[in-house]
Every structure is written in C-alpha cells, then in structure tokens.
C-alpha cells in the first residue's frame, strides 16, 4: 500500500532480503565448525542500529550471529560536562543556540537543552549549520552559537559554514565544537581489554567523507574484517554476508558495500574544508569510552574568532556518569542493554539516566522501544537472581 519511492524501495525488497539471509545461512556452517561461540559482529553506527531494529533484522538472522551495537551515535557519546557547557552557553541572554533536533533531549547533569528552552533560553532547532548562519544574519544584535556535533558525516557542512561566515564577515556566529573522528573511536573499542569482536560494519556516511583508507589501516592493524555499509536493510544484510564470507575465508580486509555513495578517496572538497577549519585535538572525552587520543577536533587558530569556547570562556567540566549507568559497557559491546541493571528500571526513555536511552539511535532506546520489553526485563531479573545465587 505504501506508494513506491524510487531509490529507497529497491533497497527494502523483502524477496532480495530473503535471498541474502539464505546466503548467510549457507555460509555459516563453514565458520561454526571451527568455533565454539557465536560470531560477534559490531555495527559501529547508530544509523545502522536504527535500521536493524526498525526492520526487525536481528530476528531474521541465524543463531550463530550476534550483532553488537557500537558507539557510533554522536549524541550518545557526548559527555555530560559538554551538555552542561552547552546549556550554560544557551542560558546567556545574548545567545541564540542553534542545534540539531535530537541533541535537544540529551540530559546534562542538571538539565537538557529542551528544559533550558522551557526555562527561557533561546534554543532553535535547525536542520543544517547554514540555517544557524542564516539566524546570525537575521539577528545581528545577538550571538548565534551552533552546537556542532557528529562524526565526519556532519563535519564538512560545519566547516563550510565557518568558511561562509568568514567570507561574509559574519562576526556574531560561532561554533561550540564537539566533532569527533571515527577511526580513533573504533580503535578505542578494539583496544578494550577482553573485547571479542569478529568484524565490523563500518559507517557508510563517514566513508562517503573520508574514503576507505582510514578503515584499511585499522583492519590491517587489528586483523578484523570491515565492510563499509549503507543504511537500508538490504545494505546491512548484504554487508553481513560480505563480512561472514571474509571470516570464512580467513580474510581481514576493508570492502565497500556502499559503492553507490562511498568513493575510495572520499569527498575531496569536504576533506579540504575540514582540514582548513579543524585540526586534531590531543585527546577527547567520549561518554562511556573515556579519554581517546586524537579523537576530537578543534577549530584552528586562524578561525579562532568562530570558536564559541574562546569567545565565551566556556567552563571545561568533567562530570562522571551516574554510578548505576553502564552505557560505557554497552557502547563497547561488553554487555547488552538489558544486562544493565538500570535498563527499564531507573533508566527509561521517559527519564533517561544514560545517553543511550536518549537518542532514537541509542542501543538502549532501540531495545526499549522496539524490543519485547517484558521478555527483556524477565531475562534481566533471571540474570540478577543467577548472580545473587552464585
């Protein structure tokens, strides 16, 4: 009944999905003979997690495959101290704070941007950083601060906006920069002690910007197969099949499933804009993963006048996650969302304790919203009782 949507529906064809699942099923016995435990495959990106749950893909896969939901949701890994700093910026009377929609609900240690807005802060939802620049043009008497966040997917548009602001000499515009880079974050996951991952679905939209090279060096160094993956259900199923084929053949390469978008060298103008405006930051705190070397970026000195942190002297706050929150373990794939004691109890989408429950792309929110909640909570109780008995 859905009216057809060209270039979308082709990638949601149930018959083709069935064929791919059959192919995966046929491959699996070759691997299983050689191993005791299920394959642990991580989808890094929150967009992939969203698709997996929206289409119920996990339940269609054979038992020998477990999907581990990774840290690739920029809203989820934002530390609480940064949200607090952003709220403090938004509460300055001269500031209009412009932000992407799903960052508005992320809780800081006291409040979210949505709450700050209700209390009188001027917070505006935008769809693009260029919308924030338009606000700055329209309100020359105010200071417009754009809450810049995201992996390399959103970085070129932020960089181009800064270049446009510089070109037009718009002086009442600045960035509160929280961009992070993908490769160091994947390495942090792989460096986690006890981490047992057999392969990665790598983020397609990051690949569109940075190309395939950065993934290649990780695959070689850690001997883990990677497939750069698109965001439709067939993309994910085909990529899983490609990953399993690599594992069966004992290969650990980077393959590009998302060829309709991702080029080997990425997007040259985007990369140039990023390199012009941003430089690597020594270390960056990521919620759940802690301090990761070279994962952050900062605005270069030549564009310092567009840096909200230098313009407003934003406090550098480090605030620990709530003790009951195990987002970090979930992000690293060490436990499943329902294995966190707070899941569904003190942490729900109505009152989120951890960031993974806030964003619609967070693994906990996906389990809570799309999973069978009573069953998950029963498993949680059983595990708890089991732990108490032992």
């Amino acid at each position: 009944m859905n009216q057809p949507l060209h270039l979308i529906d082709e990638f949601r064809d149930p018959a083709k999905a069935g064929a791919l699942i059959d192919d995966i099923r046929r491959l699996l016995p070759r691997i299983e003979r050689a191993r005791q435990s299920p394959l642990q495959l991580m989808e890094f990106c929150g967009g992939h997690t969203h698709t997996i749950f929206r289409y119920g893909l996990e339940q269609l896969l054979p038992e020998g495959i477990e999907l581990v939901h990774g840290p690739g949701c920029p809203v989820c890994v934002l530390p609480r101290g940064r949200v607090d700093a952003c709220v403090a910026l938004a509460e300055r009377p001269e500031v209009i704070l412009a932000t992407f929609g799903d960052a508005m609900r992320v809780p800081g240690s006291h409040k979210s941007l949505l709450q700050a807005k209700a209390e009188g802060a001027d917070v505006r939802m935008v769809y693009s950083p260029l919308d924030a620049l338009a606000l700055a043009r329209k309100h020359p008497e105010r200071q417009v601060v754009f809450f810049a966040l995201g992996f390399e997917t959103t970085m070129p548009s932020t960089a181009l906006t800064v270049l446009a602001a510089a070109h037009e000499q718009i002086e009442n515009f600045s960035l509160f920069c929280n961009h992070i880079t993908t490769a160091p974050t994947i390495q942090a996951v792989l460096d986690t002690p006890g981490m047992v991952l057999d392969g990665f679905l790598a983020p397609g939209h990051v690949g569109m910007v940075i190309g395939t090279g950065p993934f290649r060096s990780i695959a070689e160094r850690y001997r883990k197969p990677m497939v750069i993956t698109g965001f439709e259900p067939l993309d994910i199923l085909q990529s899983l099949w490609m990953l399993i084929k690599q594992i069966a053949a004992g290969r650990a390469e980077v393959e590009n499933q998302y060829q309709r978008v991702v080029r080997r060298d990425g997007n040259a103008p985007g990369l140039t804009a990023m390199a012009t405006v941003f430089e690597p930051h020594s270390t960056c705190q990521l919620r759940g993963l802690g301090s990761i070397g070279e994962s952050g970026v900062r605005i270069r000195d030549s564009y310092a006048r567009f840096d909200a942190e230098r313009r407003f002297k934003v406090p550098d706050l480090t605030i620990a996650d709530p003790a009951a929150c195990q987002c970090g373990e979930v992000i690293k794939g060490a436990i499943r969302p329902w294995q966190c004691q707070a899941f569904g109890n003190s942490c729900t989408p109505q009152a989120p304790l951890g960031a993974l429950m806030v964003s619609s792309e967070g693994a906990c929110a996906a389990y809570y919203n799309y999973g069978n909640l009573p069953e998950l909570l029963a498993r949680q109780r059983q595990a708890q009782q089991g732990a108490a008995a032992s």
């Binding site: 949507l5 999905a17 289409y55 269609l60 920029p74 992407f100 799903d102 769809y127 995201g150 619609s360």
Partner: protein, 352 residues
C-alpha cells in the same frame, strides 16, 4: 458575544486587531457584529445572549446520549496547504464527537487573538470555520473573544467545544477490541503532519503535500449504518496512528498486530520522513480515523468507507490478537516484527 451591537452591518475602521477589540466597548461590539455574527450567520448565535439556547426535544429525537468535547487549536502557520486554523478548529472538534458515534450539532468558538493580527486574516479564518461547519452540518452558536498583548499569544489561538447526540444502540469504546477483530483506516497516513512540517518552510522543500483536515462525521455515520456494532473508533491526531493503536491495545488489554506492507502512506510523505528521520506512524492526521470492527463486518464497513469521499483509500491494516496484551506489534515486510510503542515526547529530526 454577549451584547447585541447597536448598528448591525457597520464596518470596522481598523485593519488590524488592537487591544480595544477585546476591551468590551464599541470596538469589540463592532468586531463581534461584523466578523463573527455576520460570518457564522445562524439564528442561534444572532440573539447574542450570554448563552446559546438549544432545543432539548430536537436533540432527544436523535438519540439517548449527549456527547460533549473541547479542543484548543494553536497551529503555526495559520494557513497551510489543505487547510487553516479555522477549518482545523471545526473539523477537529466535529471529529472528536463523531468518533464516539455522535451526530455533531453545536459548537462554541473561543478566540485568543494577539494584538496586531490583520483583520483580514481573522475574516478568512471565520469564513473557513463557517464553510467547514456547513459541510459538517453543525452550527457555531456561542463564543468569546480575548485580545492579548503582543507576544502573549502567537497570532491566534482557537478553542471550540462541541455537543452532539449519540443514537441509541451505539457503544463505541476503546476497551472493546477483541481477538479476531479487523483494524481499518480511512486513507493515507501522516499527510497533516508532513504538510505542516513543510509549510513551516524550514526545509525549503517544494512538495505538494496537502493536510487531510476534514470533518469525518458523515463517514462515521456511513460506517455505523454498515455495522452498528463498531467496537473502537478514534481519530489519529497528535501522536498519530501509532498512539491511537496503543491506546486501543492498552484499554482493551489486547495485542494489535499491524502489517507494515498494508499501511497507506503517500510517496511525498515517505520522502519527507526519510529526509528528516521521522516516522509517519507518529505524524499527526486531521482527517484519519482508526476503526476496530468485528471480522465478519469488516468487508461491509470497508465497502461503505470506500464509497464516502473521506474514505476512498480505506484499507484493513491488521487484526487484533490475544498476546502480548497491551502491545502493538508491527510485522515488517521482511517477516520480522517489532513493537510499535508510544513516543515519549515530540519526534525530533535526527542528526545524520
């Protein structure tokens, strides 16, 4: 509208609404007379007493229960493709009566106007309310007007309350979904929410999505004629189709199973949702209802719905099952399943 104007038909001098139009003096009387009484044009309103007087015998002739509802309308922008705040304020309240099986009869109209609203805007809204009321067969019989300082309201807020009569023998209730029942919808999902998102102009898209805003009372009466024992009926406004289905599932302690491939969604609406990361199942509708009907009556009700202009795209989207109780399960085209829960708050577009 509590005093007769002394010079009916007099023209208003100002071209914008000022605080004087809400101050109870001559300016207000002129506004009431030239805009509201002239616009709503009916003999129950024109005496301008402090209350409308409604004939009880007349109401008793239509049924044995009085239905009453109220709703506030604060849409931005005031005019959007397929409708405006006036059409919405009448159709919305008419529909809230209609989905209880009631025949809507009378509406009230309370307006909160921000000073500076162009008078012409108000006239257009009133004209739209009148034509929608005529189409639905209801009369706007009483009202109130307040004008507030600039910034204290956003242009124009409208409240309408409505009274209708429920014919004997109708027992529509959200607790009545039973295993085996069919779940029907009268057409495409999410048109209103998508039209409003587009009309706000934040995305600079050029689509021709129209709001589905329209009265549904005639459609409901057609459905009841085909099957007086409709179990559940609700219009899927704020919170969208997903929210209403959850309300039925929880109230009936049943499981509603929906087939994703049967959900009617226009390509333009799907496209907008894909771009913004929104789910059409949570978008508001203003002319869509969901019905839960006994399985053996489903074909007759569907045929009746399709014969009505407000239901030509009606389809069956699923059925009621026993377990897990209180839940809505979406069967995806891939053979997978997922829970379709209510939203916590507003849907927010995703970053990437």
């Amino acid at each position: 509208m509590n005093r007769p104007a002394d010079k009916p038909g007099q023209h208003l001098a100002a071209d914008t609404i000022t605080l004087a139009h809400g101050a109870g003096g001559k300016a207000m009387r002129q506004l009431i007379d030239t805009v509201f009484v002239a616009g709503f044009a009916n003999n129950l309103l024109s005496p301008l007493e402090d209350q409308a007087r409604l004939d009880l015998d007349d109401l008793l002739g239509e049924g044995d229960q009085l239905a009453m509802t109220t709703d506030c309308y604060v849409v931005d922008p005031l005019f959007f493709p397929g409708g405006d705040i006036g059409k919405l304020a009448v159709a919305g309240t008419v529909n809230d009566l209609a989905v209880g099986g009631a025949i809507p009869r009378y509406l009230s109209c309370g307006m909160i106007i921000e000073e500076g609203l162009p008078l012409d805007t108000l006239r257009r809204v009133v004209a739209s309310m009148k034509s929608t009321a005529d189409a639905a067969g209801v009369r706007i019989v009483t009202g109130d007007t307040k004008v507030v300082h600039r910034g204290a309201a956003d242009k124009l807020f409208i409240n309408t309350a409505g009274i209708g009569v429920i014919p004997r023998g109708i027992h529509i209730a959200s607790q009545r979904a039973r295993p085996g029942d069919a779940i029907l919808i009268n057409g495409h999902i999410g048109d209103h929410g998508a039209a409003i998102a587009d009309a706000r102009g934040e995305m600079s898209l050029h689509t021709d999505i129209q709001s589905d805003c329209r009265p549904l009372n005639a459609l409901v009466q057609t459905m009841l004629a085909a099957c007086p024992d409709i179990h559940c009926l609700r219009d899927a406004t704020r919170g969208g189709v997903a929210t209403v289905l959850n309300e039925f599932a929880q109230a009936s302690d049943a499981c509603l199973r929906i087939d994703d491939t049967r959900l009617p969604i226009r390509a333009e609406v799907r496209g907008l949702c894909e771009l913004l990361g929104l789910d059409p199942l949570y978008l508001a509708n203003e002319g869509k209802l969901l019905a839960v009907v006994p399985a053996d009556a489903a074909d007759a009700v569907l045929a009746a719905m399709r014969a009505d202009p407000a239901g030509e795209h009606s389809v069956c989207i699923g059925h009621v099952a026993e377990a897990p109780t209180g839940s809505v399960i979406l069967q995806t085209g891939f053979g997978g399943e997922r829970i379709m829960d209510m939203l916590v708050g507003e849907q927010l577009p995703r970053i990437c």
